[in-house]
Symmetry: C2
Subunit: 107 residues, 2 copies
């Protein structure tokens, strides 16, 4: 599967936050999220494993209460049921890879 970014309609999540479902297949799914400065995704967990990469911006990653600042090129892994959250310090673009696919995102 090939996915051209501009061909995907962003899904609004809440004020200042959108999600695009990008390339996917088999047990992998790529998702791009764009969050404005000041938005927060509270710590949460899911059974899916996740790898995330900061494309643009600056965020404060929180993992089980442990906080760290990430910028462009930085990344993290969250295992099944591992708590993780993000506070967006600048307008940011992050790509998330999941296995298995987030079937809940299709609803």
């Amino acid at each position: 599967m090939i996915c051209h970014n501009e061909s995907v309609e962003p899904t609004p999540l809440f004020e200042g936050a959108t999600r695009k479902l990008l390339a996917r297949g088999g047990s992998l799914m790529l998702v791009e999220v764009r969050f404005n400065a000041g938005t927060v995704v509270a710590e949460h967990a899911h059974v899916h494993e996740q790898i995330s990469y900061v494309v643009k911006g600056r965020v404060e990653l929180s993992k089980g209460g442990n906080k760290e600042i990430l910028g462009p090129g930085d990344s993290f892994y969250a295992g099944p049921d591992e708590l993780h959250g993000v506070r967006f310090i600048e307008d940011s673009i992050i790509v998330d890879g999941f296995t298995p696919q987030r079937e809940d995102f299709f609803k």
Copy 2:
């Protein structure tokens, strides 16, 4: 696992091409590759599933002889044993997500 990009030493692949192993764990692995304009990764395949995202640059993706131009934000999925190759039109940064992890990259 949290991975700061500048803390990772790039592995030279060939002239004008480097690879960094970024965040990973369980069955997921994130890899950042930087290729100069003019470099080519010939079509190849592996048992690992792959999702790739163009962070910067412009590339010609080839899948089983089928060619398509990708730019920033564009992405693709390659299934197990699915042929894929890339010709780099501009200096580019791509992030690849793999499942399972590319144990061959640790050698």
